[in-house]
Assembly symmetry: C2
Homo-oligomer: 485 residues x 2
């Protein structure tokens, strides 16, 4: 028996897994939590706040804001949930013929969407993923290298768990980065080794800097295991040049690093001169000795793009050139987690196998997708222009993804005020913005940024961009007026 005061607790900060204590995830951190409080205040009828709505620009959650679900996907989802509809007399007036036929086939393949599937996902859906990849890249793909996952995040966490185990293990991550990576590495007690994206050069990679950071990490006894690339970039919105991609693949080969390519924004592309190219294609194009040897895992998701079904939790990853022993362990992790939700898997099926020209659903499908893409591009441009008109703010435009990541040159008086409030200067700015306007964005410190620079990340998913930009401008002016020297 141990000594115990009645009110003692087993789990306190001194007994909780220190790796958990260390993990941070700013996208749903303190400022979004404050936004939740304000939202509840508004909902409870409080009319003392200087705004009447909280706008969540902190997270890429398209359908929470304005983006409509793709009708085709939802029809298929409804029919597989309740297959009796497929053969009901009302079916033909409610659903297009092609959706009914596909639902019927899917039910035959999957059985009940309430049953566990294979841990890697439904075999026929994995087969269709390979067709999608082959058509996209022009290179073969195989279902036994494909894992369907609960969003990309679940797959990223699994890969990092297989890769890293100790405080010496390190993974190269871009700065700024999506904080899932630092959080997952912290949970594994492993090191995030930064390399910096060059803001002054449209957030491209400086390979000398990458090599320098690899050397520096090795000098610090880091056992470097992998390199993470997010392309299109989150939070930066950049699309990598082909030259950058080739260099990354060569570095991974030469330095013996697994390449983790986060390609979840591959459908969010805004510049014709910067199309999406997958790392799989770049790798295979490179030829020997790279193409058959660099261990590449690439992630895709239904959460972003024109699909935007993040609440469904679906995604996949493809393994290239992994050893069979590594594949075995990755499979084991997937099997401990049983399987991704079937609803998510059906979302992936639509992502990789959309309706085809000539099918009844095709015109609406195209119209909906083009509408979403157009809207996002327009909003990104309005916001980008508005940011660059603000005093002390500079912002690259979005080549891809769903975010802008402007620099804010905060005056010393603001930095001083932040210090007093015990906040990072950019967190102080974001909190003031939230409390003055109801607009919730995430401070750059949550993603990492060059020492002494300050940013925030905002999605451009919110409707009413003009009004939104106006509120932000008005706040920024009054903030600068208060803190300007």
């Amino acid at each position: 028996m141990v000594k115990r005061e009645p009110t003692d607790r087993v789990l306190t900060r001194s007994t909780i897994n220190p790796a958990v204590l260390k993990a941070e995830y700013a996208v749903r951190g303190k400022i979004p939590l404050r936004a939740e409080e304000l939202r509840e205040q508004l909902e409870s009828g409080d009319d003392q706040l200087p705004f009447d709505q909280v706008v969540s620009c902190n997270i890429g959650n398209p359908q929470q804001l304005d983006q409509k679900p793709l009708t085709y996907l939802r029809q298929l989802a409804a029919l597989t949930e309740y297959p009796i509809l497929i053969d009901s007399p009302e079916a033909s007036s409610l659903f297009p013929k092609d959706v009914l036929a596909r639902a019927k086939k899917l039910v035959e393949e999957v059985g009940s969407v309430g049953a566990y599937s294979h841990s890697m996902g439904v075999p026929t859906i994995r087969k269709r993923i390979t067709t999608f990849i082959e058509e996209r890249d022009g290179y073969p793909s195989s279902p036994d290298k494909i894992y369907i996952t609960a969003g990309a995040s679940g797959g990223v966490a699994n890969l990092l768990q297989v890769l890293t185990a100790s405080p010496e293990d390190g993974v190269l991550i871009p700065i700024p980065q999506y904080p899932l990576y630092t959080a997952a590495l912290a949970l594994n007690s492993a090191r995030a080794v930064p390399y910096y994206l060059d803001e002054s050069n449209a957030w491209s990679l400086d390979m000398n800097d990458v090599r320098h950071n690899i050397q520096k990490a090795r000098d610090d006894s880091t056992v470097l295991k992998a390199m993470v690339v997010i392309n299109p970039g989150n939070p930066t919105g950049n699309c990598l040049s082909r030259e950058n991609m080739d260099d990354i693949l060569k570095v991974c080969y030469e330095e013996k690093l697994v390449l983790m390519a986060d390609e979840v924004y591959q459908d969010n592309i805004y510049h014709k001169n910067r199309p999406f190219i997958s790392f799989k294609k770049a790798l295979k194009d490179l030829g020997a000795p790279y193409s058959d040897n660099v261990e590449l895992v690439s992630f895709h998701s239904i959460s972003k793009g024109q699909t935007g079904e993040c609440g469904r939790r679906g995604g996949y990853f493809e393994l290239c050139n992994f050893s069979s022993e590594a594949e075995e362990e990755i499979y084991k992790l997937a099997s401990i987690q049983l399987c991704p939700s079937l609803g998510g898997q059906i979302g992936v099926d639509v992502l990789v196998c959309p309706p085809k020209e000539g099918e009844a659903s095709y015109p609406q499908w195209i119209e909906e997708r083009e509408g979403i893409a157009r809207t996002l591009k327009e909003r990104s441009e309005i916001l980008h222009k508005a940011f660059n008109e603000l005093e002390g703010v500079e912002c690259n435009d979005a080549e891809g993804a769903l975010y802008l990541f402007p620099t804010v040159h905060l005056p010393p008086k603001a930095i001083e005020a932040a210090k007093k409030a015990k906040l990072a200067p950019d967190a102080f700015y974001c909190l003031e913005l939230l409390q003055a306007t109801g607009i919730c964005v995430v401070p750059g410190s949550g993603f990492g940024q060059k020492e002494g620079t300050f940013h925030f990340r905002t999605t451009f998913l919110a409707p009413g961009t003009d009004k939104f930009a106006g509120r932000l401008q008005k706040f920024h002016e009054s903030f600068m007026k208060e803190y300007r020297e």
Copy 2:
């Protein structure tokens, strides 16, 4: 630059996270993988096998076998997927009035099922979970202590991650256990500290044995953090006596252990004299100093019971008496994982808030649920009887859950043959069974068993139990004939 042969791989057994290498999950381990191969062989038209069907009794996957989805749940799921149906002119001929009204309300509350929800789950669904708990137990429950999860597994993994960090950290687990626990502990490099369920006493707990194992673990410098209880039991099918439950709560209080109560089979109850009692109720009934101090987390799921929607990935846990610092960290982990799938959350909503008497869906709901419960009870009894008729086999009956876990007294000659085949004796038996009959069960060694005893776990979900039992009997006879001295 590092030295590299072109074909070198970064990830090999020598570089993979050793905790991952160590984790095991027999429910989807080698024998189920062999079953998959045999299934593919049959599907490819092979008619050389001595059976024409592989029956997966290795995993509690109700709807893969025979269990039908609950109509009400699926109707609601279909309507929330494609809400345009709710107001369509065809709606009233396709859906009962109460389902339409509930779907409408749910869409108002949730918004799009394609959007991320709050990391802990949709607030109104969490509220209804508390009503369910309050009605079940007669004690208050609060939505800020409820986390909706992707099945119970996701929640268990998160709690164990918060609780354990090092090879010294230990968690008491029942033997036999559901191998999720040993797998998750292995992934955290933590210790599984066994306590034994007493097979000769209907798998009940011997509290002296529990206390003895606690002392022994502490003598080995184990930092004991928690105790896991699975009730009703998996794989054992037992329901704990009230006396056992009270003792467990007292031990957790006295020994400063968090109690993790896996109560996912609470709806699978077969004996009237052993009703399900939640640990929350038992704790609150106990009064001071236990009721307000023992840290209890209890898990529930839509995967089992009469719902059986494991492919949807939904569940929840409730925290009692945790410190606010612990709650903060548990929240952070949930937020890194974004949110459970909305489809899973809607499943949970139906689990905790079924149709009520007087509503249009009620009669069908009751009929379906009672049919499922009756079928399971019948099948468990037929199998239980069949097992006890086999030479050298003894089997407790199922008071709850979905499994039987018979002992098989294997003759020395069989043990010898297993040794030659480099298999555990019970794995050898199960593999022979699979290859002779197509019936896939899991060896007891995957769950843990007393040294020198051999078991297997089978679900009683498969239809045609008589035929199934017959095939098993025939196999067992010929196995014994071959290996009997």
